[in-house]
């Protein structure tokens, strides 16, 4: 398993649209993806789960990936966040 800590730069954070984009991207990988934030753990492939975390702009989250394509998954999700969810 690998993990990475990253800051959300998007103006609003994990709201409906960004959660959905993240979950969609995460779902393209075989690896399990989890987000840790404020002692809560969310399923990275679930829009609902991501929304319930309440991640706001400038918040720092931890992304964990576990599976054969975990490196690619983490890189690609990191890029998505860095590009403010514009793929």
């Amino acid at each position: 398993m690998i993990e990475k800590i990253i800051e959300i730069k998007d103006k609003i954070g994990f709201h409906a649209r960004t959660s959905s984009l993240f979950a969609k991207k995460a779902s393209t990988f075989q690896a399990e993806i989890f987000i840790e934030f404020n002692d809560k753990k969310g399923n990275g492939k679930s829009t609902l789960s991501l929304m319930t975390l309440g991640v706001k702009s400038q918040d720092v989250i931890k992304i964990c990936a576990n599976g054969t394509d975990e490196i690619e998954a983490l890189e690609s999700l990191e890029e998505l966040i860095k590009n403010n969810f514009k793929s």
Binding site: A16, A23, N43, K45, T47, S49, N83, K86
Partner: protein, 528 residues
């Protein structure tokens, strides 16, 4: 205006926890219900696709996504397993948990999604209990009055029977509010207690302009309202019907009537008001809220999302015209005494070339493979200015092709004629640029030495009309000899008194705010 139709509370749901014989068959029921709900949502989406824009159709995509959410399914299955209970009870409990958390975040956008979950949960429970939602049947066109109404309920009613919607709950970011707006249905949401005073069948008036609901209006008020409605209806129906045709005078002179835009909303209006194309896209308006220099992909995605609303027409896109009058956090520009005469538009663009102009030019070139893009260069003051920008665009074009991002052909590149030094001497430019657009607002302020943002001198501007018309005429004659098109995109373009003159000198196009197009087209058709 219309009679109230009080929407009754829906079929009340009885969700009782009961022991079940087989966990596996309950899980099967759940999976099946999720698939049925997805199919129903897809069905509604198809039904609405013609009346909504891409943005609004996304509401249904969001519903689908919730229904396909892996965690929702997993949690519900786990609930069934650990409680050995019925699937509808599990759905109820799990979705209630989600909505509680989402509402607790205190974010209006997220709360609106919580409402979606409540609606979808209801849908799933009804499917599991083999029940149907009460059908809303309107016999006469009515104003729907309800505590709240879901997007699915709204989608199930014949739109021709909905005169308006008023609800006691909800806010402007609700999906229902967004949908009704998109469908052109007047709506007032979040009226609270007022709703309880309305009786079924009583007459209501929604005044959208004032955002007011009038209960039991007086006869005098009704007469007044009726006259206004009638007049507006007549005018707008005639305008809309005709505005989608070309504007041709009685003697057969045609002229393109284009729209000035700066946003997604503007281009939607341009399309619905019958513009022939986009005559001026003020790109800087897309980035006023931006916190950093927009990069190439940002330019690309914003323009793409706007242009695809009205794809098959000519798009004249002006390069960024920022100046020191628009304070931008990422531009470290010093305050200038006269921003209109200062470091703005391409002057600023070249100062920050790599961060400002280059990404925009590259994005526009890439988009030219998909759309009929014409690049319009603002604030050209001299031959030197023109050579510099044209060479840069050609350079970026070659660069992209070297990077194997194949650009089919170089788009047409034109000049915004707004500085007198160019307007007076068309000879050089008509040979070297592909098209011209007169920006009469800036041209007027430069000709009259009167700041157009300064109220105490702006009365001078209108007095430049004669001179500007002469400049346009001379320029157009020479441009036409070279086979180049000339348009007008400032305020003069929608000045009815100038129309005959423009037609006479065979101006190729006029560009104006979308809402003025039907009137101007109508005027042209009535010209000999």
């Amino acid at each position: 205006m219309g009679p109230a139709f009080i929407l009754k509370e829906n079929t009340s749901l009885k969700i009782i926890k009961s022991k079940i014989s087989s966990i596996n068959s309950e899980i099967k029921h759940l999976k099946n219900a999720l698939l049925i709900a997805q199919a129903k949502t897809l069905d509604i989406r198809e039904k609405m696709i013609d009346s909504l824009s891409n943005e609004e159709i996304k509401i249904y995509d969001a519903h689908l996504e919730i229904l396909k959410d892996p965690e929702l399914e997993e949690k519900t299955i786990n609930f069934i397993k650990s409680n050995s209970c019925n699937a509808d009870f599990a759905v109820h409990k799990v979705t209630a948990e989600y909505t509680k958390i989402l509402n607790g975040l205190g974010d209006p956008y997220i709360s609106a999604r919580a409402d979606d979950i409540i609606m979808l949960s209801r849908m799933l429970i009804l499917i599991l209990q083999k029940k149907e939602e009460n059908k809303i049947i309107l016999n006469i066109p009515s104003i729907i009055v309800a505590d709240s109404i879901t997007t699915n309920q709204l989608s199930s009613i014949d739109k021709n029977f909905i005169l308006g919607i008023v609800t006691s709950h909800g806010g402007p970011t609700d999906h229902v509010a967004i949908l009704s707006k998109a469908l052109g249905i007047p709506s007032l949401v979040g009226l609270d207690n007022m709703i309880s005073k309305i009786k079924d069948g009583s007459l209501l008036v929604i005044d959208s302009k004032k955002a007011q609901l009038i209960l039991n209006p007086s006869t005098f008020y009704l007469k007044k309202i009726n006259l206004i409605i009638l007049k507006e209806k007549q005018e707008s129906s005639i305008q809309l019907k005709e505005s989608h045709n070309n504007a041709t005078t009685k003697s057969g002179t045609s002229i393109e009537i284009n729209a000035n835009i700066g946003s997604l909303n503007d281009i939607k209006k341009a399309k619905s008001f019958g513009a022939d194309g986009i005559g001026l896209f003020r790109t800087e308006l897309c980035f006023l809220d931006s916190e950093k220099f927009p990069d190439e992909n940002m330019h690309y995605s914003i323009y793409e999302s706007i242009l695809k609303e009205f794809p098959k027409v000519k798009h004249t896109i002006r390069l960024l015209d920022f100046g020191s009058d628009k304070p931008l956090s990422y531009l470290n520009n010093t305050k200038e005494e006269n921003p209109a005469l200062g470091s703005r538009a391409l002057r600023l663009g070249f100062k920050y070339y790599d961060n400002l102009l280059k990404p925009q030019i590259r994005a526009l070139l890439r988009l030219s493979n998909l759309f009929n893009i014409h690049i319009l260069c603002p604030m050209i003051a001299s031959e030197e200015d023109w050579i510099q920008i044209k060479e840069r665009i050609i350079f970026e074009f070659n660069q992209l092709n070297n990077e194997e991002i194949k650009i089919d052909h170089l788009p047409r590149i034109g000049i915004m004629v707004e500085i007198p030094n160019v307007a007076f001497r068309p000879e050089y430019y008509v040979k070297n640029a592909d098209f011209f657009s007169f920006g009469t607002n800036d041209l007027a302020q430069f000709l009259m030495a009167a700041d157009r943002t300064n109220d105490s001198v702006s009365n001078y501007l209108s007095q430049s009309k004669e001179s500007i018309l002469i400049l346009i005429k001379n320029f157009t004659e020479l441009a036409h000899r070279e086979g180049k098109e000339v348009g007008v995109c400032g305020e003069l373009a929608s000045d009815e008194k100038c129309l005959a003159y423009f037609l006479n000198i065979k101006i190729n196009s006029l560009s104006m705010p979308p809402s003025l197009i039907p009137k101007i087209k109508n005027e042209i058709r009535n010209t000999i």
